[in-house]
Symmetry: D2
Subunit: 139 residues, 4 copies
């Protein structure tokens, strides 16, 4: 295949094409693309904070799901239509007043199903704030 | 207890108080409040649709989490500070061009943990579009 | 197809055919078969109890997974080869010195994926002891 | 603290003390204990194989749950009474005719909740066969 590599630019462009405007409002920024995963930055923003200035869990779940679509595309060598089958997120620590880094890794890319895990950390913090696992159906 | 009941008005007001503005942009509307659960309406909106006009999964997860905070408050007789421990969502059918109805039920309200399940349907459709289970820590 | 219905006898026979001997040691007994689900009884047994006489969670997860294979078969009109994609279980209350009733329901039977939920109760107890959701790939 | 370390011997002894006999029948063997996790070996056995000689998923879930109890104990510096709140397992590849290695890591040890993830591989195989995430309540 002579296709261009799935790189940061391709991934960032995909964010603007296939996701809902409400998801695009997260302003996710692709930081890294590798064959087995991606890292996105979720910038700190008042609109995403609940009482106490804590990054809302809804935004973390949305970022996790979005990041994994890009990670599966990276692993597949380009965007593939897919649908989320399930996503399980555990919330371990709050993120307050910091960007979040969303690291999505493909655990297995099968013919019809892809599995992955996502770790979210506050930028500069050692421990994970949230951890998710997910299954996608490849269409 | 002389407290006012936790009713539709209380629940709707809570939506505007404790959730992040980005979550409030979902425009969730409380349809029903019962001792063990709530039903919210997630109005169809172009901002929530991904390619093909399909209601994005990110919005369904966010609505599920938000609905359960209200359901736990209903079961507890009033808002209680709480934090989501985990939320697992399965996506079963697309919702296209319809409002979504988000039915959140408390399965168990313990002293420190609450468990619930959420079923999301396209308005007027028989089968569930998504189903979630969740655990909250009561603070 | 002139196949016999998938009934209690068929389901009980399947338990002895396709599951591992270690799973058969749970001694699960089919109580009810319906088009959308099954109910199994997990008899109380010292071998399944951990310290304090509490039914171990491992047995509840195993019973949930096993019951759903039968429920999907019931919904499909007969046994179909399938594989568990994921299973999420929440543990809400202990079961002590009682049989457990395992109620497995198919939420959606698609062409390649089936979704279900399982509720486990102590026999005679009102509230659920455990609740699980699961996805299967139909082969 | 003058307490004896939580080491392989302590962990192996714990396997024989606090788990149900049916779980002990898995014959799990502690391979490694570290401050943040443990590795157990689940020996290949005909009793654990379903049709086709495939290690049954029920045994993998049971091993994951059991391993995490030991991992949390390792992280806490000794056995602590705890109860599983939820466990989510994804099944990615079959294990056939091989031992399974069960690697349980604590992601966060809080005051009342502990979070972890478990990766199960066929011995000698590069890719994961199953991956689980879990929450425990510390009593």
């Amino acid at each position: 295949m002579t296709a261009k590599a799935f790189d940061i630019g391709t991934a960032q462009a995909l964010l603007a094409e296939v996701f809902a405007p409400w998801v695009q409002a997260l302003d996710l920024r692709v930081q890294m693309v590798e064959p087995s995963g991606v890292v996105l930055r979720l910038p700190s923003a008042p609109a995403l904070a609940r009482v106490g200035g804590i990054l809302c869990g809804q935004a973390m779940m949305a970022a996790a799901d979005t990041a994994m679509v890009l990670a599966v595309s990276a692993a597949a060598g380009g965007f593939r239509p897919m649908t989320t089958v399930q996503l399980q997120t555990s919330f371990m620590r709050p993120i307050v007043g910091r960007d979040a880094l969303v690291d999505a890794r493909v655990l297995r890319l099968g013919k019809t199903l892809a599995f992955g895990e996502i770790t979210i950390r506050g930028d500069g913090e050692p421990g994970p704030a949230a951890h998710a696992t997910t299954t996608y159906a490849l269409l």
